[in-house]
Amino acid sequence: MSSDTVINVSQLCKKFVSFKKEPGIVGSLKSFFVRNPIEKIAVNNFELKIKKGEIIGLLGPNGAGKTTLMKMFTGIVVPTSGELSILGYQPWQRDKQFRKKIALVMGQKSQLWWDIPAMDSFTLLQKYYEIPEDKFNERISHMSEILEVKDLLHIHVRKLSLGERMKLELMASLLHDPDVIFLDEPTIGLDLVAQENIRNFIKEYHARTGCTIIITSHYMADVQALCERLVLIMGGKKGFDGPIHEFEKVLGNEKTLSFSFSTEQNPEAEIWKNYYPEWDEKNRSVELRVPEEELRDLSMKVLQNLPVTDFATEKLPIERVMKTLMENPELLKERSND
């Protein structure tokens, strides 16, 4: 492992066992006496190397294994097999020094005490991580100013909005100045302004500290704003690992071409056939995925023959790529076979 590799994952697997239960009282009684175990492979032969200071976007549909990976990376869950090293430590051994060097933020779980102000939780965290008083005060002051939460530090957490709480969760996780930060859907459920605030804060924090960040999110805006490298996980396996601009081309050199028409159009017409059309309800506007080399011809054909009121073209957005891959995971296999 080279000295600047912070995370080294090889052949990592995690299996979970649950049991199947039929509905109703009879099903409950049956499953009480006879359990039908179901083995689910959440992560399968996963490989990954992350260098110091990188920000990685870990993407994938629900149930793909993103959170399980995060939990293995932080030592919460023990891998079934494979090798995993974070900062030279094996996370599942939960070395005290290791735990002082990492942080985990989960958008759907809270580490702040609900019934007391966040500042009380922060002072407890100060003791946990043995943060010197001057550094603690300096970090609280700096982060609360950037996140604009100075006035919220002494209000009971249960009285705060989701966005306010998330900002304080971030602060709580970063107080001990971790080397590696795991952010599991940090902007989930937040409004657009709050999402942007959180993104800007993470960006500023990364630029200032040079820490390593692994972020999972269903919002492509998070990934586009923060990450240069993207790792796609589907069905527990790695589907893509590379720069974000390459991911945009994963389906080929395609662009989005959209038209609006003054009258209703026939979605079944031959002209749309090879371009994955997505129509609006009234069939008066369409979005197409068009190979770059066909863009000019197709545009002219549509403009000449149909009552176009507006048209636009742009790069295939990352969201569209993700959606296509989630609907057709076999495309990734085809790509890796090429």
């Binding site: 939990k71 919460i76 009380d120």
Partner: protein, 264 residues
Amino acid sequence: MLSNIKHYLSVYRKFVATSIAVNTSFRTSFVMLIIMDLFTFFTTIYSIDFIYNHIDTIGPWGRNELLFFACFMLMIDNLHMILFSESFWELSFSIKNGSLDFVILKPLNTIFSVFFRYFRPSSCVLTPLYIFYLIKYGNLVGLGTLDWVLLPFMIFSGLAVLVLIEFCFCSAMFWVTEGIGINFLRLQLQQLSRWPNFIYGPLARKFLTVAVPITLIGSAPVHFLLDKSRYGLFLAMPVAIIILIFILRIVWEKGLRNYDSASS
């Protein structure tokens, strides 16, 4: 080593401070808990008193001996309520909903983070009452100077045996996930320990001394305080504590490895 102890003490002080902050936020609940503790205390004392209005002895003990034993156990119970009682319920809850994740992440021993996290200040209000009755019945059974010196150590040793047994039982929550059954079983074991060992038959007594040593919590030290020739069980207490710590470390570590964490 010393810096480690200092670190844990500073965290524990914060545990206490945050627990007080939470508990005092809900005043009615705070008062209700005091009333509940008062009920428990006086029903125990007056039930024993009532029984002795109709009989002279239970086993080898008269009224004062049994009331001293009851006060000894109530004192342990009071400390248990203050220091540990909430953590057992919280552990069951946090394994089920996955909030244990954040406890595991903290750079401290997880047994400490889990079981010493919650402090119940409402139970402290009645501690002077428990001490008063313990001293009252200690005087009535004629405790000597050495006995009074030994008494606090015996209370803490009894408490240690009790909580170590409970910690070991609670480790099973990592496998069963739903901890209600284990918590109720734990409470029943506490109930069994609140009676002197001589009320149990020979087989049950052996089981409750060797397999699940709950008779070491109160019966062993009180027998020794009342009759110095009965030191056998008393000497078994430190042995039991060492064995229980050993078992706890093994089952807890295995339990943590088995922890799946709830999905997000």
